[in-house]
Each structure stands twice: as structure tokens, then as C-alpha cells.
């Protein structure tokens, strides 16, 4: 169990390239986050929990899909911690663990409309691929 946690933590750190030890716990990321109220775990908690290896709750949390990837936290973090990248890495871990996409490719055409930006389709595939 311990090993599994370590392995997950290492994988998250590797995919994100984030060093959570750089965090000085100022909370500016959470202060800046537009999706704060939607989230169960807030950006600064993501950083702290990953650092502690408290990853299971994050994997299960809806918060993963509430992050808009707006990168406000990345831009404003004084210590260059880049919390959004951590969130993204945890999200990727869930996707990889499950190995199965929530959205099936054949479902996509019917969901498309002309207004929908290309980028939204791509990020939707990533985010809702639960």
C-alpha cells in the first residue's frame, strides 16, 4: 500500500514536473482560483496532499474535473509551483488507470455543433474521460 502511494506520487510528480516542496503555503493559488467554490479540494490542498502522498482522495474527488485549467494559479504563484499542472497530472493518472474513455468516439459526432471550438472538444475528451 505504502509502495503504491509512493509510486503514484512519483508518477504525478514526474508527469507534472512539479516540485510541491517549493510551496510556501501562501494560498495565493486558492485565492485566485475562479472555480474555488466548485471544488472540494482546492489548489493549495492539491499541492499539500500530493506532497503528503494523500492521493487516493484526490483521485476520487470531483474537484479534478472542476479545474478549468485557466492557469491563473500557475501565473500568480510566487514560488513557481504550478498547481494546475499537478491537477492535470492527477487527472491523467485517473484516465490512465481506468484505461477506458467515458466518451466513446462514436458518441462524439452527435454532440458536436458548429459553434463548438476545436479546443473545447479536445479538452472535453480529456476532462470527461472518466
Amino acid at each position: 500500500m505504502e509502495n503504491n502511494t509512493n509510486r503514484m506520487k512519483e508518477q504525478i510528480l514526474r508527469t507534472s514536473g512539479v516540485n510541491p516542496l517549493k510551496c510556501m503555503r501562501c494560498g495565493k493559488c486558492s485565492g485566485t482560483c475562479p472555480a474555488y467554490d466548485e471544488m472540494e479540494y482546492h489548489p493549495h490542498e492539491f499541492v499539500y496532499m500530493v506532497e503528503r502522498g494523500d492521493i487516493e482522495p484526490l483521485l476520487k474527488s470531483e474537484s479534478l474535473y472542476k479545474c478549468l485549467s485557466c492557469f491563473a494559479c500557475v501565473d500568480r504563484c510566487p514560488r513557481d509551483v504550478e498547481p494546475a499542472k499537478l491537477v492535470e497530472a492527477v487527472r491523467l493518472m485517473v484516465i490512465r488507470q481506468q484505461g477506458q474513455n467515458h466518451l466513446k468516439p462514436d458518441q462524439i459526432p452527435e454532440m458536436l455543433d458548429d459553434e463548438l471550438p476545436q479546443q473545447a472538444i479536445v479538452s472535453a475528451l480529456r476532462k470527461y474521460a472518466k
Binding site: 517549493k22 510556501m24 503555503r25 501562501c26 494560498g27 495565493k28 493559488c29 486558492s30 485565492g31 485566485t32 482560483c33 474555488y36 467554490d37 482546492h42 493549495h44 490542498e45 491563473a72 494559479c73 501565473d75 500568480r76 504563484c77 510566487p78 514560488r79 513557481d80 509551483v81
Partner: protein, 664 residues
């Protein structure tokens, strides 16, 4: 060929217990150059020293090797002994056979063998030693203080009180610096002006102090005890010695729209101005960028109203050259620009201000006459948010901000919050902090009073975003302890901006060849043991130019720097360390490698005419070492590819001789 005496010390049993000292003395007798080799119980004792003394006299020794304890222990002792016997003290070498041999080895045979090798190395070295004499240079008994803030003023006063003349060079029209702009000072809440202005006046009136205001240092040459400095006195278009400071001109000047930098441009002044009422020197200055007379030749109002006839539109910048023995850098600090931190809307709203601006707003002599009013509409703010650490404590790789803690913000923010609540109990005051750092006498008590007695809301967390909405400022922040995101409708937001060294520090450091850290703070000669000296001899550091500092710390450092300066100026002559670098002009190719690695700026270049081996003459650029400045580290000797640069006392040939002797 040297005539060398070898003296092996028993050090009681300290050495003799593990080293067969007789065998060592016997073995070393046959080394090249050795004419006498002997041992004794305690070489450092009077009897031992007498023995060395006698041996030098009797055998006409030209060098001695003492095999004993560490040179850090008794090198000085044996050098004195040698000197008393008429031998140059630098003809003494120590073989450390105690700390580095008998005390770390147990086996007699091994210890003896090693002691012989160490002795051989010392003999090989002393064979190549040359007598050295420390150089002497006279000291100009006068100091220059660069910067006229509280640091510079205090340093100048202390030096002047000791009887040495001091010049203060200040770029602004008045001395006083940042402290003159402050309202109250923590933790006692004295009024800054009340404690600063008497010192300014004292400086102005001190017979040993000359204030060169509105002046800049342009060039510095020379070295410890002998600096030559070029100072530019900028034209202020007012005769300083005649102006009475009555201020009439500053009232009559028709050019009213000049942003007032003393009030951080929150109000306007005239084109002719005196920065503030207690300015020293209290004389008017014409701002050439705004004066209509200087720009178009039409106006001349100030000249007309001046009863003292002090106005002189034809004044020119003046360059003066002065000599000093010591230089103190006291260039101070500035808040950093808030431009990169636009999430706080500093550029979008007039009601987002820095703490220094807040000082002026609270100051009775400030733009609002001491009333706390919003810069945008002059209304009284009811909710004020203070943000700490703006631009401080950022990652080294972050695109903006500084890596260090600015040190003074926690305390002045507590002061601001407290003063606000004191004057206007109807205001809500929030302070967003990451950590509250209060390590100073009565500091934490002060902060606790802000919380407990004045009801300031301290919130652990950072403000993420400020957005102006109508006449309000929407502050979005996190409250980490409550795990909540707060949304506060504020009337005024105050940013505790990080502080950085003044821009003039970097060019000054280059002129002084004083080193700086990556943040442009001056580096101290030793972070613990020589905190007010620059590594460059004769250059001292005072105040925030060395690192963020509050007033009490600045004043104590200023005094310490003054003490160091006084210590230097009290000497008539400076005696140097003779183990300094020297350049062989015939081999030097003038490439500047040595100059670049010298931490002391001891190396300069001259272009000289040489008669070349092929009988032609050529102009060649060659390095010269200033022996008064060189500290003898030897960095230059390795940077020099041709080996033109060598270090006396630790010459390449000497070190290689030691290597050879050890590897035999």
C-alpha cells in the same frame, strides 16, 4: 643557496610520543641547503626561541624550518624570533608535525616517516623563499558617504564626531532618504520626522560634515586609504549659499503641474521646489524638465520674486575631484515596481496603493494633510485590505519578484493597520499574510496588539485577485485556516511591495570594484564576522544597500560601519600583507583574465613602452597589482595562462617544490 636551520619540536610528548624526533632531525640534516638540524623539548618556549635565535646568528642562517605544531598556532611566534635575530620573518616555514601528524597517527614508524616528508617539503619550500617586506601606504584622513538617508547620516555623524571630515553625497536635493517620507515608526510609533530631522540638522551644522546634495559620484579610482573620487554637482539653478529657503519662489512659480515625487506623485509641486519643509539643505531647486524659463527662455518669475537674488539660470553641472581614505556605500532601497503584479490592479485603480504611498496618505505633511482619503475620490475608505509579501519570497525561477524576504513589511503593515484602526475605528482592516515575521525587540508584542487591542483581521492566505467594480475593489482571497475563498468588497487595497536596492548601487559597485549578490545587494566581506565591510578594502556598507533592514538595524549598522572607518582613518599608514600577487611585466599579455577574477579590484592595467627582444619598441598593456589592496588569495595566478602572475610566499615554484618533496 640558502643556509637553512631545521628545528624539530618534541612538544613534550605531544609530538615525541608518536614521532621519533631525533630521527627526524637526523634525516633532515642531509636535505639540500640544510646546515643545522636539531630538536628540543618545547621550541615555542623562551629557551627554544633563544636556541633558534642563537642558531640563526651562529650559522648565518638565511631560512629556518620549524617542525612543530600548526602554523596557525605559532607561525607568528617563530617569525618574531627570526626577526629578532635579524632574519626576515618570511624566511620561516613550519612543518605541521603535531596536528597533522603525531596527533592523527598512532604508529611511531609511520609518524616518523611522515614527519620527515613534511619536513622535507618545508625545506624544499624555504629553499625558494625570498625575504618579504610589507608595503606601507599613507591614509587620506577623510571619508566619503554615498547616500544621505538615515544610514548615511548616522555613519557621517559618527565619523565626524570622532574628528574626521566626511562628505555626504546625495543625488536628491535633500538628505533624509526614505525615512523622511515615513509617518510613524514601529514599534514605538514615534513620528519619523521628529527623530530624523534633528539628525539632519545636526549633520548640516557639523563642522566636519559637508553635504553635497543633488550630486552624484561619477568615477572612483584608487584603493584603501587613497581613493580619488569624481563628484558631479548637478546644476540646481539656485545659488545654494545665498538661498534662504524662504519658499516664496515655490509659491509663485506658474508651473504648477509637476508630479511631486516626494509624495509619490499623488499630488503636484512647482517647477521650482523644496522637497519638504524640513529639507536639508533647505534651498530651492529648479526642475529643468518643467521650468519654462530653462526650456523656452520666457518666464523668470522666480528670479523676480527672490529677494536674495539666488536664482541663476546659467548654472552648469560642476565636476569636483576629492580624495578620501574610506568610502561608505549607503545607497538604500526602493519599493519594486508593481507593474508585473497586475492581478492586484495597481495600474487599473488609483485606490490600489503601495505601503509607501499609504505612509504619505497618513502623514500630516502628505497630500491629504494626514487624513486617510481614497486617492480616487477623496472619500473615507471603510474597508481596507493589506496584502503582504507582494513580490517578496518568490521562486528564483519566477518571472517576477524577488527571492528574499523584504523583512520590514510585516512590521510596517501591522503599524499601518493599527494606526488606521486607531484613527478610524469604523474601518474594517484585513491583513492577508503568509507568515508574520516579527523577530525584533518588542516586535511581536506590537503585532499582537494590532490583533488583540485594535481588532485588525489577520487572515492566513493570499489575495489572488483584485478587480475594480464601480467605486469598489473586489478582493478575492483565500482563507487557508477556514479553507474558504473570501470575497471582500474593499475601498482601499494596500500592497506591501518588496524592496530592492537602489538602481545607483550597481554602477557604484562597478566603480568601487565591490562585489554584489545576484539581487544587487552589496556583499559583505564575511557574512558573520565582517558584516559591515565590503570585500574591497576601504569600502564599507551601511543600511539597506547590504540587505533589507529596518531603522534600528540600519542605525546600528551605520554606527558599526563608522567604527570601522574610524579605525582605518586613525592609522597614519597602512601596513599590508606581503604575501601578495605580482605580475611579471615581461610575460604579461594584458588579457585581463586576472583582473576579472580579482575580488578586490587590486589589478589595474597600464600601457607602457617596452623594448622588445628583437630590438623594436612596442606599446604593451600590462597588469599591475596594487599591493595595498591585494589580499593574496591567488585566484589571478591560475587565471593567468602565461604564469606572469605569481603569489609571493606561495609561488608556483614553491608549491611545486613541496609537491615534489612529498611525492618523492
Amino acid at each position: 643557496m640558502q643556509r637553512i636551520g631545521v628545528f624539530v619540536c618534541h612538544c613534550g610528548t605531544n609530538i615525541a610520543g608518536t614521532v621519533d624526533v631525533k630521527a627526524v632531525a637526523e634525516a633532515l640534516r642531509y636535505e639540500p641547503g640544510v646546515v643545522i638540524s636539531t630538536e628540543y623539548q618545547y621550541m615555542c618556549s623562551q629557551a627554544g626561541q633563544d636556541m633558534i635565535h642563537e642558531a640563526i646568528r651562529e650559522n648565518n642562517l638565511t631560512g629556518i624550518v620549524v617542525c612543530s605544531c600548526s602554523p596557525r598556532m605559532h607561525e607568528a611566534t617563530f617569525r618574531k624570533t627570526a626577526q629578532s635575530a635579524g632574519l626576515n620573518p618570511y624566511m620561516v616555514e613550519i612543518a605541521n608535525i603535531r596536528e597533522q601528524c603525531s596527533w592523527v597517527h598512532k604508529d611511531m614508524e609511520i609518524g616518523t616517516e611522515k614527519a620527515i616528508i613534511l619536513g622535507r617539503a618545508a625545506i624544499a619550500k624555504v629553499n625558494l623563499n625570498a625575504p618579504l617586506t610589507p608595503g606601507e601606504t599613507p591614509v587620506t584622513k577623510r571619508a566619503l558617504v554615498i547616500g544621505g538617508g538615515i544610514a548615511g547620516i548616522q555613519t557621517a555623524l559618527d565619523i565626524a564626531d570622532a574628528g574626521f571630515p566626511v562628505d555626504i553625497v546625495e543625488t536628491k536635493p535633500t538628505i533624509g532618504g526614505k525615512m523622511a517620507q515615513l509617518d510613524k515608526t514601529f514599534p514605538t510609533l514615534d513620528c519619523a520626522a521628529c527623530i530624523l530631522t534633528p539628525k539632519m540638522v545636526e549633520a548640516a551644522q557639523h563642522e566636519n560634515i559637508r553635504i553635497l546634495s543633488y550630486s552624484e559620484v561619477q568615477d572612483i579610482k584608487g584603493f584603501v586609504g587613497n581613493f580619488t573620487v569624481q563628484i558631479k554637482k548637478k546644476a540646481r539653478y539656485v545659488k545654494e549659499d545665498i538661498c534662504t529657503g524662504c519658499g516664496l519662489c515655490t509659491e509663485k512659480c506658474p508651473q504648477k503641474k509637476v508630479p511631486n515625487e516626494f509624495n509619490l506623485e499623488m499630488d503636484n509641486r512647482r517647477a521650482i521646489y523644496i522637497p519638504f519643509a524640513q529639507a536639508v539643505p533647505k534651498v530651492a531647486t529648479i526642475d529643468p524638465n518643467y521650468c519654462t524659463m530653462l526650456k523656452t527662455g520666457k518666464c523668470g518669475v522666480c528670479a523676480k520674486v527672490c529677494t536674495a537674488k539666488a536664482i541663476d539660470y546659467t548654472q552648469k553641472d560642476e565636476i569636483m575631484e576629492e580624495k578620501y581614505g574610506a568610502i561608505v556605500a549607503a545607497t538604500g532601497f526602493n519599493p519594486i515596481s508593481m507593474k508585473p503584479f497586475d492581478e492586484y490592479a495597481y495600474s487599473q485603480s488609483k485606490d490600489v496603493i503601495t505601503s509607501l504611498e499609504f505612509e504619505r496618505l497618513m502623514n500630516a505633511a502628505g497630500p491629504t494633510g494626514g487624513k486617510l482619503l481614497r486617492p480616487s475620490d477623496g472619500k473615507h475608505p471603510h474597508t481596507i485590505v493589506f496584502v503582504q509579501c507582494v513580490g517578496s519570497r518568490c521562486s528564483a525561477h519566477a518571472s517576477k519578484g524577488k527571492e528574499y524576504c523584504s523583512k520590514i513589511c510585516c512590521m510596517y503593515t501591522a503599524k499601518h493597520a493599527m494606526l488606521t484602526r486607531d484613527k478610524y475605528p469604523d474601518t474594517d482592516v484585513y491583513v492577508f499574510y503568509i507568515d508574520v515575521r516579527t523577530p525584533g525587540k518588542n516586535f511581536d508584542e506590537f503585532y499582537r496588539r494590532a490583533v488583540e487591542e485594535y481588532g485588525v483581521h489577520y487572515v492566513k492566505g493570499m489575495v489572488g485577485k483584485v478587480s475594480p467594480e464601480g467605486d469598489k475593489l473586489m478582493v478575492q482571497a483565500s482563507d487557508l485556516l477556514a479553507d474558504k475563498q473570501l470575497h471582500i468588497e474593499a475601498d482601499l487595497v494596500v500592497l506591501a511591495a518588496a524592496i530592492e536596492p537602489d538602481m545607483s548601487a550597481r554602477p557604484l559597485a562597478t566603480m568601487l570594484t565591490a562585489s554584489m549578490d545576484t539581487n544587487d545587494f552589496f556583499t559583505e566581506a564575511h557574512p558573520k564576522l565582517r558584516p559591515v565591510e565590503s570585500p574591497t578594502a576601504g569600502v564599507f556598507l551601511s543600511g539597506a544597500c547590504q540587505g533589507p533592514k529596518d531603522i534600528p538595524e540600519t542605525v546600528s549598522q551605520a554606527g558599526a560601519a563608522a567604527a570601522k572607518v574610524i579605525g582605518l582613518l586613525a592609522k597614519d599608514k597602512l601596513k599590508g600583507n606581503p604575501c601578495v600577487a605580482g605580475s611579471d611585466e615581461w610575460m604579461c599579455n594584458g588579457c585581463s583574465s586576472c583582473e576579472r577574477v580579482c575580488p578586490y579590484g587590486a589589478i589595474t592595467y597600464v600601457t607602457k613602452e617596452f623594448r622588445m627582444p628583437d630590438r623594436t619598441t612596442a606599446l604593451r598593456r600590462v597588469a599591475q597589482v596594487n599591493e595595498a589592496v591585494c589580499q593574496g588569495c591567488g585566484a589571478c595566478t591560475v587565471a593567468c595562462p602565461s604564469g606572469a602572475m605569481d603569489l609571493k610566499g606561495f609561488a608556483s615554484s614553491q608549491i611545486m617544490a613541496e609537491v615534489d618533496a612529498i611525492c618523492k
